[in-house]
Subunit: 148 residues, 2 copies
DNA sequence: GCTGGCCCTGACGCCGACGTCAAGGCCTAC
DNA sequence: GTAGGCCTTGACGTCGGCGTCAGGGCCAGC
């Protein structure tokens, strides 16, 4: 199998496969013309790489899985080094999710506060004297705690 | 106030301020020597930018907030365009958190499965005949559903 | 007068995972 | 023979948010 066919089979591009090879991740044999040649095992290596990429693993993190497969194991995660990557990734995911969740809460709170403020201004515009206070950009010493 | 002092006051670098200016986000007046000059209002603009950056907003997304402040509003999120960015960001955060959560679950399941498999192999190695089945990389048609 | 400190512009470097273009080789079909 | 299709290597482009360097100016203090 040549590079174009392999790329088609796993739904990627020849450029990607050459890039993987340049990173030492997916070496290829060559035929008489210097063309890269791949076998069925390479399809599985590539599928392993793409699966992990879909999970957000970067290329270097897929290396233990690929080497595990190439060393004859039936699965890329049948080696301790792969499990270590799994565990590290789980930790990263957990802390990232935690962080994003707290950011989400903060942004949500800011939005709610700003919406209340806008509603208040709109009410002011309907009820009392003028439409808007026209705040100057002076040294009004405003703080971030305009919550209530 | 010149660029170095402003950078110190908000805890960033002069390079960053020049970059913001190049993006049209934080223009500066110039003194007789061509040096950038800033006022207190710029401190607040910058703090707004940095706060949003900490939330993961990219620079373009901070622009409505900055323009809102510069147009005289007391807060960067006192304008509809800013609220729209808040809402869009909340949506992005929600879907990102969802995605990461599902990835986390999948990776966790893969780790658990792989750990069970390794434990099984270890038990095999202790109990029966050989230490490892020495799987060839043949067409064994393995699927992804090796869960149970 | 000279050193040190701040400022200026312009431009290249970085990271990751490729996309894209250039220039050419080999093989097949017509 | 020539057009088309696949392959090769090499190298530059992309995106964001700056870091870092080169080369030069202005001003204060000793």
């Amino acid at each position: 199998m040549r590079i174009g066919e392999l790329a088609d089979r796993v739904g990627t591009t020849t450029r990607t496969l050459r890039y993987y090879e340049s990173r030492g991740l997916l070496p290829a044999r060559r035929d008489g013309n210097g063309h890269r040649t791949y076998g069925e095992a390479d399809v599985r290596l590539l599928e392993q790489i793409r699966t992990l990429q879909d999970f957000g693993f970067d290329l270097e993190e897929t290396r233990p899985f690929v080497e595990c497969l190439r060393s004859g194991h039936p699965a890329g995660d049948a080696c301790p080094a792969s499990l270590a990557v799994y565990r590290r990734k789980l930790g990263e995911l957990d802390s990232l999710i935690d962080e994003l969740t707290s950011v989400r809460a903060e942004v949500g709170a800011q939005l709610a506060r700003a919406e209340r403020a806008m509603a208040g201004l709109a009410a002011d515009a309907r009820a009392p004297g003028g439409p808007e206070p026209r705040c100057e950009l002076g040294d009004t010493t405003e703080g971030k705690g305009v919550r209530g």
